[in-house]
Every structure is written in structure tokens, then in C-alpha cells.
Amino acid sequence: MLDPDGGLLRGTLDILILKAVNWGPRHGYEIAEWVKTITEDDLLVEEGPLYTALHRLEKRGWLSAEWGVSENNRRAKYYQLTASGRRQLRAEVSSWERYVRAIAKALAATSPVTA
């Protein structure tokens, strides 16, 4: 979802990040790459804000971070979902789906309904 300037809608990035680490610890670059791949380069205009979001989610307690070694043997900061992060992801996914269904329903309407 894009706002008029072509950026991500507020809150959309958070849910994508949570989803990105759903399967296990990932460092920031991996998350950025996943987001790019999965959204076919459309969503992430700049990569910087991804890190602000990662640190914010860590502060909220939805992610925990740990330094580890990357596949090319460099020190990298790995993020993973905490229990409350997992709950948050589930909650956001379901409310997102409700929202999408509602919009889709509205857009699929064929005649004006009057009260």
C-alpha cells in the first residue's frame, strides 16, 4: 500500500518486518531483501527507514536482537520475534485481512445501497 508520495502507509512496514522474521532470525539486509522480493521492489522506496522501524519494534518488545555471524562471516545484528511480537503479528494480520475484505467488498459493489 502506498501513500500519495509513493511511500509505505504508516504501520504497513511494521507488519512486513514482523512477517519477515516469522520463520527465524534475520539481519536487516535479509529483511530488506525479503521485503523487496516479496513486493517486487514496489514498496520499499528507501531502505533507511527499515532500520528505524526495526529499532522501534525492538523497543516495543516485539523483536529481540542478538549479534551473530552472517553467511559471509561478518558480524551482523539478527532480529527475531518475541512471544509478544508473534501475538502482535497475528493481531495485525487479522485486522489487515478484515480491512482488505471490507475495501474489496466496497469496491465490488455494483449498485448504490441506500438506507
Binding site: E47, H55, R74, A76
Partner: protein, 918 residues
Amino acid sequence: MRRAFRLRIGRTHIAHEVDDELAFHIDMRTQQLIAAGRSPEAARAEAARQFGDVDSVRSDCVTIDQDRERAVHRAHVLEELKQDVVYALRTLRRNAGFAAVVVGTLALGIGANTSMFTLVDAVLLRAIPVSHPEQLVAIGDPSRTSSVSQGSPRVDLLSYPMYTDLRDNNNHLVTGLLASGRTGRLDANLADSGRVLEHPRGRFVSANYFQVLGVPAAAGRTFDGTEDRAVGAAPVVVISNGYWTRRLARDPRAIGKTMTIDGADVAIIGVAPASFSGEIVGTSTDIWIPLSMQPVMQPNRKMLEDRSTSWLLSLGRLTPGVTLGQAQAGFGAMLHRALIDYPIPGQALTPEQIRRMRIFVDAGDKGFSRVRELYARPLVTLLIGVGLLLLIICANVANLLLARAVARGREMSVRLAVGAGRARLVRQLLTESMVLGLLGAAAGLLVAWWGSQLLLWMASDGASTIPLVLRLDLPVLAFTLVLSVVAVVVFGLAPALRASRADLASTMRSGARSLAGGGGGLGARGQRAPLGKMLIAGQVALSLVLLVGAALLVRSLQKIQTASVGLDRDHLLVVDVDIAARGYSGDRLSNLAVDLSARLGRLPGVAAVSWSENGLFSGTESANTVQVTGFTARDYSDTVAFYDQVGAGYARAVGAQLLMGRDFTDLDREHAPPVTLINETMARFYWPGESAIGKSIRISDSNSVTVVGVVRDIQDHELDAAPVRRFYLSYLQHPVGEAGSLRFEVRATGDPAALSNRVRREIAAADPQLPVGGVDALTFLMRQSIQRERLLTRLAAGFGGFALLLAAIGLYGVMTYAITRRTNEIGLRVALGARQLDVVRMVLGDALRLVALGVVVGIPLAIGAAQLLRNQLHGIGATDPAALGVALGVLAVSAVVAALLPALKAAGVAPVVALREE
């Protein structure tokens, strides 16, 4: 519970991590772009472009991380504190006996301190309950709340004309200036109360009194500022909330009611608020009467006109912007100026001498108080005393905690072994102490609640309690809290540090052994003893300080009580008759004095009778200025002497020793040559090295009198006062007016108190209407006059005794513990042939070495502390050897008793038992 890793806190540390993280990303992106065929430079530029504003992301991340770190740290600390408190409570519940002893002793210590501080707060610290007390400036000696000085203008008390001068002409230093003065005893009755005579405590106040103080009426109204315009113009009074409650049952209709005070009808116009107890701390006023009513109620006392009648104290509200210093300079100059404009009769003081006279202009926020003057020093002394007591208690608690720390050695070792940090253990043990301290403080507040009331009751003279408002208010609670925290650190820190140092290996190794030994193990053996014993030595030292202080005060009190006062102290009865009530004056008064004196003299059991105006150890005091030919005064004070007007045969009646000349007789009457008796201090001062007999004195620039006798110094009003110059005039020669008073001194052959009823009956026979005030044995009056000293001594002795008890218990505990530890050794010694006496001697020796150490430290401390008492000691020095000896003796005996019990127990150790234990 413990994190596997912990991020360090700190800006640089966080910034580094953020830098590393972002750099990693950009490097990865660059490599990816190079792999896709870009040149390294182009790849790096593209990576940066894709990332966006690195600096702003970096600073956002750092800020977020710092917030997170702080939150984590706070939560962590709180969590640990919660755990510690829960753990402490659980531990203490398991050791309820231990906890009760510690909390109990702490409660006593903290309670005693809080009680004392409550009094200090009420007497010395708290501001009077008026609006913005900090804006007030006080003029006059704050301790002279009920004085009247006649004869010459003064600057430590104001006359009414002096007050109005200052009020009307002070260059706007103050926006309002009030004055108040004593009323003396009031005879009052409420119009419809069946004419029951009562004596409410009153105060004459200026019409602006309530306005300047900013105190509104709780019911009705207060004075509106016009009451002073003319004498007798405003027959109104404001009553206190207490009086309204006590006498009028809070009846709203009481306002408007008339009451008769000293013959004048006045209307009650209002009630002061309950919180308002007046500007005099330590007295409570029932009725405020406008100054303009004074001449109506007391027609014989010209207290509003006379510049030489000083009796008012004054409070002013500083004009905004005027500092206290400016007010002091301004009012000081005005007061000095007044003495130049209205000189003391017969005294040509130089401006230099006048400038040297002490002016009392000070901050007025604490009002005036006689009680404060009397009790400031004793209170501070006692506060130091209870402070020491608390230290001793802390030492005792520390010792208990140490003993427990040894018992918990294994627990500590285990916790250290599983990785708990030493700081963490210290914190946990301190939390435990803090829980004990706060429980002690809470219980201490309960102790303080009745403790302060008890102290106040003890300080009061029995008849009525000093009306001080005692509250556990914010300063008091803050004091208690700070005190308990300090106490916790004092008693808790050493044991906590000591326990956390538990030697892992040795404690574990000695586990079995220490269990069998029923006490500490080897690991504790070498370490516990020195600290515990040092604490005992410290307790002994502090106890010695308190004991020496108490012994000094006891000795001083004894000196006061047995000092020669120049009177036949054990046989005198002082009888106060109220001549004003029956309007006696002049010849009628003289005749009454002679007649009653003769009647009383005929009573069986009476050896002699005379009379005086001021009385002994009660009643009033008089002073006047005297001029002596050939004597040059260096100072105004050189010309002041105390005096009394006394009846025929006075010296003989009171048991004064006549050193030279003669006593007064019936012939020293109005038209006979005017004569005087003087005391030896006066004789020595004005006529050093020659006989005073036949010399003449001019009193206050009027009459001249000839010295006919010199008596040994008499302590007339205070046992511990330095001798002052004093002269006596013949009552019959200088008849006192209606405002005067009459007191008989009856010397009994036996117990004077036994004469009391007969004396009352005899006076009633002469004039049934004549009210008799007090009929008191001189010894009783003297005891009352040293109420303060007796209180101080009693409390100091109590503290000393308590301190001694605590030190003895501590010594007993430590010695018992030591003996338990040495059971094997002692058993072995006995098995090897040591006699019981040797064992006792050994244990006693150990104990007394500790005591000796404490004494060595304590003696210099005690001597130092005694210097603080110097001003409260009479007749002995601060290093009185007898007091020191008594204190040491008491301490030694107690120490021997405390050590003897464990020593005897040790002597009873059977070798078999000891060996079996091993």
C-alpha cells in the same frame, strides 16, 4: 531470571552498534551491486542512494536504543528490588523472633528520636500559625512574654508610647505593627453563668493584632483596627476556639454575650480559628483584649501612658522589598534614639553606651516564647543523647545481623557459587535491613506519638500541660524517614559487606562441622569476632558518653538542691494573698501586713513570720537603678540592682544570715529615716574593701536610703543563678500601691507544709473575703523552679541506663557466642586440668579487655561531649572526676555481671560433652 548477555549502557556503545549495523547493510548492498556488474564507486553510491539519509536514520536509531536501554535497566532494578523485598519478608517471617527483637529495639530508638524531634519541631522550628509568618519581624526579647518592667525605659520590651511611636513612624519598614502584653491574672465571669469566677488566660493586644497576623475570625469578627482610638471605647474581646469549646460549648449565640473581666463589662465579638494559638509559643491564650481596655480593667496601673513601664512585645509585617537586615537597622536606630530622647532618670548615658545596649529585632516567624528560651538547650542536648542511643541500638542490631550472617554463611556461599554478584548480595542484604528499618520506623512513629506527649507532660509542672501543638507533620515524618535510612546504613552495611565476603571454599568445607558446633564454621571464626567485638567496644564507648553525661547532670542537680541558698530552705512556707482583690493599699495594707504577720506568728509551730512584695521562688521580681556616691558606672548594667520590699524581721524570718548591722524592725516606718538592707554581693560591688553600713544609696533619682545591714546572698528565685546585687526596702516605709502584692514567709519549727491549713484558717479569720493564692513549702517551690533541670536529668539518666542495658546485652551476646564456639577448647582445658576458676577468669578477661578498649575510646569522647553540657551544669565542671568515676563504676559493674553469666556457663562445661561434640 538472569540474562545470558547484557548490553552495556552508554551513548558511545550504542552508537557503535548502530554504526556497525548500518555499515553492514550498505556493504552488503554494495557487494550485491558489484556482483551485478557495477564499478565499486558506482555501486557504493547507488547503495547509499537506496539507503537514504544515513545520518538521520542513525540518530533516530541511537535515540530509540537509549530509551530502550534505560527502560530495560529500570525494569530490571525494580524487578530485583521487588524480589529482594519479597525474599526479605519471607526470610524475616521465618525468623520472626529475630525480626521482632530488631524491629522492637529500632522502634524504641527511632521512636525516642522522633519524640524528641517532635518537641524540637514544636518549640524551635515551627512557624506560628499565621498568614505568611516569614514576613514578620519581631521586636523585643522573645523570652519576656509576661514581664512588666517599671522604673526606666528599656529597649528589650516596649512601653505603649514607644510602641505607638514605632507603629506610626517607621519609614514604611512594615505595613503594620502589632503589640501584645501580659494581663496578669484575670477575674472573669460570663454574664449568665451563675457568676462563677474563673481566670482565663488573657493577653492585651493592639487593635490591628489580627489584621497584621492575617488571622480571620472563625465565627463573628476580630478587631477592626479602631479599638485603640480611645481608652475604654471598645469593650470587646475575641475568644479562642479552645475557650469557646471549653466554656461555651461552641454555642454560636455566645457571640454578642457579655462577660465581666476585672470589673469591666465586655462583649464577645468573635472566635479565633482553631489553628490559631497566638503568637506566644508554649502558652495558650483564651481571650484577646484590646490594649485600650487595660486602664479600665486595671485602673491603678498606668500602663499606656508611662514610658518607663515596658511590657509589650511587637510583631510587624515587613513591607514587600524590605529585608530583615534593613528592618533591624531601622528599628534598632529608632530604639536607641528613643533612649536619647527619653533618658533613664538620673542616668547620663553616653551615646556610645546607649549604642552598646542590646536591641532585639529579629525574624518573627516563630513568634515569642519563654518555653523556647528555657528548653532550647536541654532539647538539643537530649536530641544528641537520643541520637547516641540510636547509634548504640544500631550497633546492637548490627551485631545481631552479623550473628545471623554467620548462620547464613552457607546460603551466601551457595548464591555466590551460582553466580550472584557480590554487589547484588550486598544489595539484597541491605534491602533486608531496609525492610527492618522501615518496619522499625513505622513502629517508632507509634512510640513517638505517645512518647512526645509523655515528654511534654514531664516537662510541664504537673498542674497543666504546656500547651504545645505536637504533630507528626511533614518535617517530623521526613526526619524519621531519613533517620531510619541512616540507621539502616549504619547497622546494615557492615554485616552485608562482611556476609558477601563469605569465603566460599572454607564455608562449604566446614559445613558439617559448623552444623555440629551449633554456630559459625571455621570460615567465620577468624572474621566475625573482630567486627562483632569492635561493635561491642563501640557500644561501651557510646554508653560511657551517655553515662558520663547523665552522671554530670545528676551531680549538678544534687549540687543545686543542696547548695546554700542563704535561706532556711526546709522550714519556710510561702503564702500568697491577693490584696488587689480586696483593694488594700497604703496604711490599710501596712496594717493588714502587720496584723496578719502577728496572727500567723502566734500559731503553734511557727518560729517567725515576715512578709515581702515579691515572694520567694514564686511571684515577681523587681529591679531598679541605683546611684552610689563615689562609684562610676562603666555601663548601664552597673547601675541596676534587684530589690524587694520586705517586712519587719525579714532576715530572721527567712533564715538569712546577717553579716553586719541590723534587720528591719516595726520602727522602719514612713516618717522614720529611710533605710535599706543590702546583700554581700552589692556591698562588695559598690564598696569594695570597706564597710557599707551607714553609706547611702539613691534609688532611681528620687529617694535616698541608708544602709543599715548587710545579709549573706539569698537565692530568691532561681537556685542556679549567679548571685546578683540585691537590696531590701522596708515595706512599712515605702507602702506599695494597690498594684502591689503581699506574700508571707512563715518559718516553721517543723514541717512547714503541715502548717498550711492552720495558716489558711487564720487568714480567713482576719479577713474572710481575702483570697489566698498559694500556700506552698519553699522546698516545693524550689523543686518547681528546677523542673527543667530535673526533667533533663531524669531523661539523661534514662537514656544512660538504657544505653548501659543495651551494651550489657550486646556484651552478653557476644561472650555467649564466643563460648559456644570455644566449647571444645574449654572442654579440653578442663580435661587437661584447668580449674573452673581459671575458665571464669579467662572468659571474664576476654570480656573486660573489650570493655577496657571501649572505655579507652569512650573517655575522651565523653569528656568532649561533656563540653556541650557545660552551660547546663551548676557547681561542677564538665570534667567532674566524681561523675566520671561513677559512670565508670556503673559501667564496670554492669560489664562484669554481663560477662559473668557466660563465664559461669563456660566453667560448667563438662569435658566429656565438649569432646563428644567434637
